[in-house]
Structures are given as structure tokens and as C-alpha cells.
Symmetry: C2
Subunit: 635 residues, 2 copies
């Protein structure tokens, strides 16, 4: 019998339930980055987890927990991971709320997955085949297909990989054979004996900057683990456009980019498998999402035409190819599938976002926003959906920002500015000394500076002697010091410059112009938006109030903003688990109308208006009007 395990959900990590270890220790051992900043003293309350099953195996709720947790939390099985220790080893399942995770793993947020019925594309059947004898001379394939005919009524194709293993698969386990069938139409594998216990798949989100892969047990739908790495195409160009340019300039460029990303994904898959005693050949299907450019490059499809008007993608429809076609090392006659794309800049990842958000099924009007270098927006409800893509640029990833950095240890992620004293409070990732400022921190900073009257609606930083944190540098640029040298790791000030503010204005204006065009198309007012689904890492961590205050999100009550995490990843997992979801995405990708902003005559005007904080037309931001009244009257 194998040892009992603690399973951490939704990450899918698994670790032996060692007696006397705290859940926090076990979590860390298994790579789950639980937050805790009180040295496991049970004081900070940051390492909350919810014990889903096996709670009896844990020691009793401690006094510290009783102090920190409220009655309802205690009733729901919430524990502090640093306090809850394994008393008698048993299988324990623990859910780690998004809030309790930090640092790197926050970016890996698995995304919210809606409940779906398991209906994977790959299905296994165990067959008892009548043996070949001199009285029954049928060929192996006839023999197999005739038995299978009873179970599957459809005409089946046989993949060429099956033929090569048929004699062995039939004979080496006394004519008991397991066949794997893809989508009830193609036999892709024949193996000796009963292998139905092994049914594994990979869901992969190929982002421009990060590749994330999830290993799933397709019998249960359970996420067995995830791994991520930076997209290995980064050295060929930070953003999409420079990578496309690379493929245009270099005859073998596309091949090269394809190869490196396939290699990167192979590495993740290998690790996911190795950690669980599997090999890549055990993986029957890989479900891939990514933006249209990442999708095209991954499948070896030229992207040249994505970079020039009218930006038509080569492929909209969902694909299913054999792994060697894209250089993956998984079972060669298995599949590598993709979700469909919508347009050149609204790709399979946006379709996954849409699926994961549930917006397509809502009666109420809503909007899904996935912010990145390109921001995809889909608005509408079950009746009608419209989409667009905004060139929001990399400012939210910290690029082109003087002290910008990615969301990693030491990045300032939250900023509060006291409107009276101009005092600044910060929160950094891992509570480390500040090294720089990440996307959510910049948005917070701009929002707070605006709220505190330090920024004009035009974005101009008001440099004033009464505000010692403001100054004009030698090159004539205004800036606001957000962290002073004595606090920072480098010993130098970390500031927000006029240029930084402008970058944020450009980025948020691009997004809000898209939002406005979609709303116009659907004749919506902000108040009719009942839900805004914020997808992606940035969308999850950016403070919703700040995003509204700077005019990036439409002005809705904050509780209407729903964080759906890495929705691309969860959409990919949903489609890996269910062909019904997959078929639905095919319908959705045809149904969603695409608006090319470049072809919209209102776009420039919308963009220009949205450059203001929060917007030139304040009637669109009634809540900001209210805030205005709280601003210091004059300086």
C-alpha cells in the first residue's frame, strides 16, 4: 500500500502526509508557495487553507487559529497551514485559496474552472479478442474491429500507429487488449492487457511570456500538477510583433521559434510526468491555447500576415495533429489539439477565457477582459458576443517603466498614498525590500496619485514644494518618489516618472477605447454591465478600484468585477476534459463577432478621450466624480 498523501488543490501538488509536519511545511515541500510572513507563528493569517477531506487526520484547531479565524471560516474547514499538523497520516485534500499564494506561484494561478462533466476526447475500451487459430484465420485488424463494433457503433478509422503494435497488443496479454479511441472515430492506440487506469492529458497555455502546462488524470479530471517556464522564444523578441518580424527576416525563423517553444513544452511535460512516475508516451492528448500568433507559431503556421492589415489569421478552426508534427514527444499517434481562434489578435486563449468565464452562457450582460501586451475583450451575453483586441503594450508587465519589473520578489504590488500627508504605504511581493514596481503597483500608484490630487486629469504630475516626494529631475522630468533609498534594496529612490504615467495612460486608453467601442456596438451603459470577468495574472492582481479610478475598467460597482485567474489555462483544462466544451468553443469562435479597432472610425477619438484620468467624458465615470469631492481642494 502506498503512503497517504496530502493533495493541494487546485494546483494539483501531492506530497506524502508525514506525521507532525505542518500543512505549510508540506505545501512548501511540494512546491506550493503558501504565503506566511509571521514565521509560522499563526499570527499573520496569510496561510489560510480549506481542508476538504481528511481533516480528522490533522491536529485540533489551535488557539492561534481561533484568534485569527472567524466562526464561519472554522465551520467551513479553514485552517492556518502553519498551525495544522498531521497527527495521524491519512489522505488529506486541501484547497489553497488564491489569496494565500504568493510570489512566483501567484502568477501560476490555476484559474477558475467551472464544473463540467468529464467527457475526454480519448476513451479506452478493454476488449477480449477471439484468438487466431487455423480455424479462424482473420487478420488482427478485422478481429479487433469486429469485437469493437459491438461497443462503438460508428465507422472507425485506424491510425497507422495502431497497426504497428497490433500483433503484440493482441497476443502478449492473452488476447486482452485495450484500445484508445479519439472522439469516437479513430483508434489511436492498441496496448496489451487492461490499461484503462492510465488516461493522461496535458493542458498548456502558451503565453507570449510564459508557458504553463497542467497534467491531468482524464479518468477523474484531477489536476495532478503544473509546471511553468518563461516562453523560450523571448530571446527572439520580447513581444509578438518582434517575433513575427524575426520569422519574416529569417528564412528558418518560424521553424526556429516553433522548435524552441515545442522544446520548452516538452521539458515541462517531461518534468510533470517524471514527478509522477509517468513518461511522455503516457500522454494521450495535449490541449493547447495561446494567442493567435503563439498558436500559429506553435503549429508552424506563418504569422507574416498577422502583422499587417487586415491581420487575418491563417487558421480559425480548432486543430488536432499528431505530436511529431509539432515536435512534441508525447505518444506519437495521440493528439495535440488547439481551441479555435477568433481573429488575428483574439486567439484561442481568449476563447478559453470566454469559456472559463461563463459569459457566453450568462443572461446578464457582461464583459471579459484579459489584459496583456494585447488585451482581449469580449462583451455581451448568451444572445450576442462581440470582441476586440487592444494594443495595450507591455507597460503592465513593467516594461518601459523606469523602475518597472515583473511580478516577482521585491516588486511593489500595492501602493497607498495619503491624500493629506502624501505618506506612502507599500506592499511588496514576498514582503521583501522593494526592488521595483510591477504592473498592479503602477496602476495603484497612478490611481493613488490621481486620488491624492498629485496628478492632473491630463496625467501631469504636480510638482510642489509642499509635497517633498515630488520633484523635477535634471532632465526636466517630473517624478514622484514612491520608495525612498533607505527603504529599497538598491539604496536608491524608486519613483514614478511623468513618462511612466504617460505609458500607463496610453495602455489604459487603448483598453478603454476597446471597451467603449464594444459597448457602443452593443448600445450599453456601464450600469448595464453586471459582471466584468478579469482574466489573466495581471487582471487577477490589479486592484479593481484602482483600475476603475484610472479609467481602465468601465465604472461599475467593484463587486461586479470577478477574478477568474489564468482563465486561458482553465479553459484549456475544461476542453481537455470535455469534448462537449470543445465543440462549444467551435461554436463560440464562429459566434463571437470581431471588431477590428483599426477599421473603426470612432477609435481614434475614443482613444484620445480615454487618455485622460479617468476619461475626458466624466459622465462615463460617475464614481470618480464622487471621489473628486474627497480630493484636497487645492494646493
Amino acid at each position: 500500500m502506498s503512503s497517504p498523501f496530502v493533495h493541494f488543490q487546485p494546483i494539483g501538488a501531492k506530497v506524502e502526509a508525514r506525521k507532525d509536519s505542518s500543512l505549510l511545511d508540506l505545501a512548501r515541500d511540494s512546491g506550493v508557495a503558501l504565503e506566511s510572513i509571521c514565521s509560522s507563528l499563526g499570527k499573520c493569517g496569510k496561510c489560510k487553507v480549506i481542508v476538504k477531506s481528511g481533516g480528522k487526520a490533522l491536529g485540533k484547531v489551535t488557539e492561534s487559529e481561533k484568534r485569527i479565524l472567524d466562526k464561519r471560516e472554522l465551520k467551513d474547514g479553514v485552517r492556518l497551514a502553519c498551525q495544522a499538523r498531521v497527527a495521524s497520516p491519512a489522505n488529506i485534500t486541501v484547497t489553497v485559496p488564491e489569496d494565500s499564494m504568493r510570489g512566483h506561484h501567484r502568477l501560476l494561478a490555476s484559474g477558475i474552472e467551472r464544473k463540467i462533466d468529464l467527457l475526454p476526447a480519448m476513451h479506452k475500451y478493454v476488449l477480449k479478442i477471439p484468438p487466431a487459430t487455423l480455424r479462424d484465420l482473420r487478420a488482427d485488424d478485422d478481429r479487433l474491429l469486429q469485437v469493437l463494433k459491438i461497443k462503438v457503433k460508428r465507422q472507425l478509422e485506424v491510425s497507422p500507429g495502431v497497426h504497428r503494435h497490433l500483433p503484440e497488443a493482441l497476443r502478449s496479454s492473452s488476447w486482452t487488449t485495450t484500445v484508445t479511441i479519439f472522439r469516437d472515430k479513430e483508434i489511436v492506440r492498441a496496448e496489451p492487457g487492461d490499461t484503462t487506469a492510465r488516461l493522461f492529458g496535458i493542458a498548456a497555455d502558451i503565453g507570449t511570456t510564459k508557458v504553463v502546462a497542467y497534467l491531468l488524470d482524464l479518468r477523474t479530471g484531477e489536476v495532478l500538477g503544473n509546471e511553468s517556464s518563461p516562453n523560450p522564444q523571448i530571446p527572439f523578441g520580447e513581444d509578438l510583433m518582434s517575433r513575427i518580424a524575426y520569422t519574416n527576416k529569417n528564412p528558418k525563423g518560424l521553424e526556429e521559434l516553433q522548435r524552441v517553444v515545442a522544446h520548452g513544452l516538452n521539458t515541462l511535460i517531461f518534468k510533470l510526468c517524471a514527478d509522477r512516475g509517468l513518461i511522455p508516451d503516457d500522454i494521450l492528448e495535449v490541449m493547447v491555447v495561446g494567442n493567435t500568433a503563439m498558436h500559429h507559431i506553435f503549429f508552424g503556421i506563418p504569422t507574416t500576415h498577422l502583422a499587417a492589415a487586415p491581420y487575418a489569421p491563417a487558421v480559425r478552426t480548432s486543430l488536432s495533429v499528431n505530436p511529431p508534427h509539432v515536435g512534441l514527444n508525447t505518444y506519437p499517434f495521440g493528439k495535440v489539439s488547439s481551441l479555435p481562434n477568433i481573429a488575428g489578435f483574439v486567439g484561442a486563449d481568449a476563447v478559453a477565457d470566454l469559456l472559463s468565464s461563463g459569459l457566453y452562457d450568462d443572461r446578464e450582460i457582461g464583459m471579459m477582459i484579459d489584459i496583456g501586451t494585447n488585451t482581449e475583450i469580449i462583451a455581451g451575453n448568451k444572445e450576442r458576443l462581440v470582441s476586440c483586441s487592444c494594443a495595450s503594450g507591455p507597460a503592465f508587465e513593467g516594461a518601459h517603466i523606469k523602475f518597472g519589473m515583473r511580478a516577482s520578489t521585491g516588486a511593489i504590488e500595492r501602493v497607498w498614498v495619503d491624500p493629506a500627508s502624501y505618506e506612502v504605504r507599500l506592499r511588496t511581493i514576498d514582503d521583501a525590500q522593494p526592488r521595483g514596481i510591477c504592473g498592479s503597483g503602477i496602476v495603484d500608484a497612478v490611481s493613488e496619485l490621481f486620488g491624492a490630487g498629485i496628478l492632473e486629469p491630463s496625467g501631469k504630475i504636480i510638482v510642489s514644494e509642499s509635497n517633498p516626494r515630488t520633484r523635477t529631475t535634471a532632465d526636466g522630468q517630473a517624478e514622484f518618489i514612491i520608495a525612498q533609498g533607505k527603504e529599497t534594496i538598491s539604496g536608491y529612490n524608486i519613483s514614478i516618472t511623468q513618462h511612466d504615467v504617460q505609458e500607463i495612460q496610453l495602455a489604459k486608453a487603448a483598453i478603454f477605447a476597446g471597451v467603449s467601442i464594444l459597448m457602443k456596438r452593443l448600445r450599453l451603459k456601464p450600469s448595464s454591465l453586471k459582471n466584468i470577468y478579469a482574466a489573466g495574472a495581471f487582471g487577477t492582481y490589479v486592484d479593481a478600484s484602482s483600475a476603475i479610478r484610472i479609467g481602465m475598467y468601465p465604472d461599475v460597482p467593484v463587486d461586479r468585477i470577478r477574478f477568474i485567474g489564468n482563465a486561458a489555462g482553465s479553459g484549456a483544462r475544461m476542453c481537455l476534459k470535455s469534448t462537449k466544451m470543445r465543440d462549444l468553443t467551435d461554436k463560440l469562435s464562429r459566434k463571437v463577432e470581431y471588431i477590428e479597432l483599426a477599421a473603426e472610425k470612432d477609435f481614434q477619438q475614443e482613444f484620445a478621450q480615454a487618455m485622460f484620468l479617468p476619461h475626458r467624458d466624466l459622465s462615463r465615470f460617475p464614481s470618480t466624480k464622487k471621489l473628486e469631492s474627497r480630493r484636497p481642494s487645492s494646493r
Copy 2:
């Protein structure tokens, strides 16, 4: 305008129609081995050809021709190739009768092809695609599929290779695109512009000893050329069984044999293409036939179980895979297809033979015999067909025969023995000095020796002083000298030994036992057999009377024996040209009943009886009885 050509049919060779050249010279230039043994003097009459079109471009019929050709021949357009010269260059089409070919090319006999409607699996459509604009943002695949929907009503799959070329295929010839569709269901290629003039395929017969490939223009059905080479698997084992044993003994053996035969076929394809300004990437489909073992090895399917009872093949059904799966260099998203197999030793080549013979469609009862190391026999008519395979061994290829050799220059191919004087007349291939004796020569020799009373019905050579060509060698073996040292190239006698006779008895007994079992199963007498279709090189060149006299073929009037040449090759070509034929073979392979001789209780007895010349039961060979009366009464 390109120069006019002379086309040689059915070989498919093509050569520029150079003024003043004789058809014989042009034939030789293009690799067609026309017979002529009179140094082009127009005396031997061996180089007869039939001018099908363009005859006016040739000089007038010469006096020599008038001497050699009869009126009917002259009327039919028969010419002597050495005499007919190009007077004014124009396109000329010439049919080369089998009888006029010699040496190597005789073995390449293209086989008789029945007339069929052209209906290739690959079809090209030229499409005018609406350009992508900011007002029409559809993806390339949607754009293409919507135009195609008007032409092809079925739901189409798109091969992954198409996606990679779609943007280029649509845009680089002003939105005129040619798509290639396989069997009305899968788009396998998209190319810029109108490429409908290029539609090429390869038919290949992978024999145990020889690989033959034909290049076809699938628009016209024309054979543009053929190439052959020894099967490069020969170094791994002369016969099937030793190759199967090789794959069993060596872990990478199957892979190795697969690779060498694919490489061999690639070489033939490359040559066929290069000679006509094509590249392998122009080849859209390769249609392969071969016996079951050759078929399995070519597709990388294990053959272990073909070598042991019950000899069940892994695959009966016809296959279609992408060329890289089997290592062919043709268009990677095109197809490599096979005809179906019937049983472990009645393979796709026999199905092709059957198709080419037309037996499956005959009202009259008949039999198709394809003699080789394994001899496949199919008997019946359109109502019912039964088949078997006989282990006839390699004696007819000259193996295990003292002076045996393959059918090449210097091989004795015809033998006449004067029953009175025992004088021997010979014919050798290319009329060269005798080097050895090939299959048809050995059968002739045994038949003639038997007819001349030199062999007893048991096969024993009667050594007699009155017959100076008979003797007993030092090792006690009787032999008959067929060519004396003064005639042969080596200067030594060429003889038929007692052992040689026995080898032929074993081989022919194996065949006739199979013939007998099939006839019993169908309750046939020899007289009910209206047609015997003799397929394959050996079947084409062996003298039918001799084959009947030794008891290899059933005793039917000689004019019922029809030579269908390399029927496997012609069957492959027919299926390459017509999906209707292909679908028919799928039905035939299920319809043909297979009799495993090893499981037939009568087999041993039939075999033993057939060891006699012509048979122990002479009632089965009434014509031989008649011959008996012509035999010298006693010695």
C-alpha cells in the same frame, strides 16, 4: 513550344522525336529494350512495334519490312523499329508488344491493364478566393472552406500541412489557389495559382526480389515511365522467411528492413521524377502493392506472426498514411496507400493480380496463378472466389538449381529436345552465349526431357549409352547435358541434374496441390476452367505447354492460358487511377475465401501425387496421355 516526342507504350518511356533516327535507336535511348538481333538490317523481324499515332511522321515502309511483315500487320500499323525512321519530327505514339522486348526489360513487363475510368483519389480544384480586407476579416481557412463548399458538398477535413501554406497559397497568386483533395474528404494541399496541370502519382510493386515503380500522370492516366531495382532487403535474406527471421532476431531489424526498402523506393521515385523535370514533392500519392510480408515490412508492421501458424496478418484493410510515416520523400501531406491483403500469404499483390485479371468479374470459371517463391492462386468467378498460397520455393528463380540463374542475358530460356536424336535446341536471353538456365528454361527442359522419354514419371533421369547427353557424375548423380562446353560462355557443360529435376518436381507439386485443393473446394474439373490467368514475370515467360506437360498448370487447352504480365503492377496502377477500383479491392479482399493449405487434411496426399510427371493420377492430365503415344516406345 516543346519538341515533339515519341512515346513508347505501355512502358511509358518518352524521347525527343529526332529527325532521321530510327524508332529502334530512339527506343534504346529512352531505355526501352527492343529486341533486334540482325544489327538493324530489317532481317530478324524481332523489333516489331505498332504505330498508334503520328505514323505519317515516319518514313515509308521499307522493302525489308514488306518482306517480313504480312498484309494484316502492315494494315495494323506494325513497323520494324530498326527500319522506321523519323522523317519530319512530330508526336508519335508507339506500342511495343511484349514479344519485341528482351533482357532486363522483359522482367519489367508492365502487365495488362484493363480499361477503367480515370477517377484518382487526388483531385484538384482551382479557387478564386475573396481577398482579406478590413471589411472581410475572416481567417484564411474559413475563407477557403466557404468557397470550396460550393464545389464539394461533403464536410472536409484540413490536413495540418495545408495550414502551414495557406497564407502564401492564398496571397502569392492574387487569391487564386489550387487545393488538392483526397477522396473528397481531406484537403491535403493548398498552392498558389492554378496547378491543375500537375497531378502525379506513383504505383509501386514491392516484390521480394524486385521493386518496380511507375510514374503516372493522373490527369490522363498515362504511364510516364517506370524504374526498377532489386529489393534492397535481399542482403538481409533472400526469401521472405529469412527476412522475417532477421526482424525477429534483431531488435531494430524491422526498422532496418523498412528503411532500406523505403530508401530503394525513394531512389526509383527520384529517378522517375528527375527524368521528367519533376521533384518527389510533386507526387501526391504512392500506391503500393506487395505480398503480405513485404506490405507489412514496408509499413513498419511486425511480421513475426506471419511466420508461424496460423499465419494471421496484422492488417487486412487497405491503408493510407502520410509519406513520412514510412520514410518516403514524396509530398509529406500526400498519401502512401496500399491495396488490402487477403491472408498472411495472399497479399495486396494477389489482390492486384485478381483485379488486373478481371477474374472477379467473369461469368466463366477461371484461375489466376502468380508464381513466385510463394505462389498465390485464386479460383472462381464473379460468384465465388477461393484462394491459397503455395510454398513453391525459389527454384523458378534459378535458386537451388545447379546452373540456375535469374532471367538475364545469357540465360537459357527455351529448350527443345528432339525425341529421336536427343539433339537440343536452345534460346537464350539476348541470344547471347549460354551462361546458365533460368526458370522458364528449366521448366522447358524438364518438360522436353519427359516428353523425349529421358525422364521417368517419377522424375528419374534415364542414363543410357544410346544417349550421349546423359551421364552419371562422379558423385553418383545422373544429369543431362543441355549445352556443351563448346557452346557456353564458361567453356563448361551446362546440365540438368537429378537434383534439379527434383527441385522442379517439389515446386510444381506445391503449386498443383494448391490448384487441386481449390478445384476440389469449388468442385471443378480441369475442363470447367475457361481461363487461366498467368501473372508475374515467370508466369509470362514460362511456356504454357511445358507447364502443363510437367503438371504445374491444370490440363486445359493452351489457348485458355492468358498472360497478364506484371499484374500486381497493373493492379496497383489501376487503383492509383481509380478509387472505384480501390473500393472494389476492399470488397474483393473480404469476399475472397482463403484456404490455409497447412490446415487441409488432403494437402499432403495431393502434394505427394503431384510430385509425379505430370501427376500420379493421369486422368487429370488427359493431354499428356495423348503425348505418351508420341514417346519413343522403349530404350
